[in-house]
Structures are given as C-alpha cells and as structure tokens.
C-alpha cells in the first residue's frame, strides 16, 4: 500500500515571499501520478498541479512549481510570490498508473495549512 507523508502541519509566509511544502511517498510502483490539491476555507478541493512520474521535467503552473525527485520519492510544492488568496490547506496525493490495479484511487497526505500574512 502507498503512504503519503506531509511533515509540516502548518506554515506561515508573508505576501510576495516563497514557501515550499514537502511531501514524501512510499511506493513500489515505477509509473504513477502525483498531485497537489488546495482547499481554501470554502472547503472546495482545487487541483493545483499534477506530475507524471515518467516525465523528468518538473511541472509548473504559474506561481506554483514542483520539485519531483523520483529516486528520493519526494514531491515538494513551491509557491512563489505568495498572495493572500493562497491561504489554504494543501494536500499532496498519489495515484497509481492507469495500467496498475486500483488505478484511480487517490492516496492523500494529512495536509499542510499555509497561512499568508500581509
């Protein structure tokens, strides 16, 4: 079974600064998908960024980028130029590849609460 660990329960960052959230996972699979979801106070789950394990290039979406280290099983999220609207809980999640058994099941970490201050 896969496990996803987010070791930082809460992080605080000032507006315009950069914050990095850590995520490690444990799997014996070679191909898989990784995601970061954002959950603001509205409770809505919003996909921030996704990464396919077979792609070496790190994914980037505007101010959000990841550092994917496959050998270390690490998938960190960097938020650049932080904005007040980035205040939310952030979840790292793992999904097996389409060709694997149990494809589609997301395994989530416990989450990291990010607070952006003025």
């Amino acid at each position: 079974a896969q496990t996803v660990t987010q070791s930082q329960p809460e992080m605080s960052v000032q507006e315009a600064e950069t914050v990095t959230l850590s995520c490690t996972y444990d799997t014996s699979e070679n191909n898989y998908y990784l995601f970061w979801y954002k959950q603001p106070p509205s409770r809505q789950m919003i996909l921030v960024i996704r990464q396919e394990a077979y792609k070496q290039q790190n994914a980037t979406e505007n101010r959000f980028s990841v550092n994917f280290q496959k050998a270390a099983k690490s998938f960190s999220l960097k938020i650049s130029d932080s904005q007040l609207g980035d205040t939310a809980m952030y979840f790292c999640a793992f999904m097996k590849h389409i060709w694997a058994d149990s494809w589609g099941k997301l395994q989530f970490g416990a989450g990291t609460q990010v607070v952006v201050t003025p």
Binding site: R43, Q44, L47, I98, G104, K105, L106, A110
Partner: protein, 117 residues
Amino acid sequence: DAGITQSPRHKVTETGTPVTLRCHQTENHRYMYWYRQDPGHGLRLIHYSYGVKDTDKGEVSDGYSVSRSKTEDFLLTLESATSSQTSVYFCAISESPLTSGVTYEQYFGPGTRLTVT
C-alpha cells in the same frame, strides 16, 4: 468548474439512523468516488465506482454501502450512523486517461458536512 453537486450539504442525525448522501454529475464521467475528510488524515477513500452497478471498496469502507444505478448518480449510505462517522464527505469524478481528449485528474464536489449526535 466540473458539474458535481452533493446533497444535502449539511446534515445532523442521531446515532443509529440511516443516512444517504447523494452525488450527482453532469459530466458523464465513468469513475466516481466517495471520500471522507477528518483532521490529521487528509481525505480517505470510502468506495468508488468504475461504471454503472460496478463498485468497489476503499480503505475505510466499514459501515458504508454505495449504489450506482445511473451514470450520473452515486449514493453513499450509512446503514446505522455512528458518532465516528461524523465527518465531511466528498464526492469526486474522473475519466480514464484512455479516453481521448480528457485528463485523468479527479474533480471534487463541494462536500457534505455530516454530524452524528
């Protein structure tokens, strides 16, 4: 936003009563999921469906059952609610990456807050 609705959005019920939560989608996606969210645990999969009448258990399925008689609806039933089932419940949908023109990530509904007293 993906067309996913959940009903009810809030519910308070008593221990021992049956409860049914509904997830409705307008995207015609094949896969549907029920998760529960609890502090310190993130979201955990309860049950999922890979087609009409095709369902399977997730990691926390005890005390829950599901049904999917139509592509658009996925029901989660607590046969006899317990206080440990107090949680926020999320429905999600996705399509197979083998389907042309779609991506595989999951889209979530707004959630249902259930309190069992």
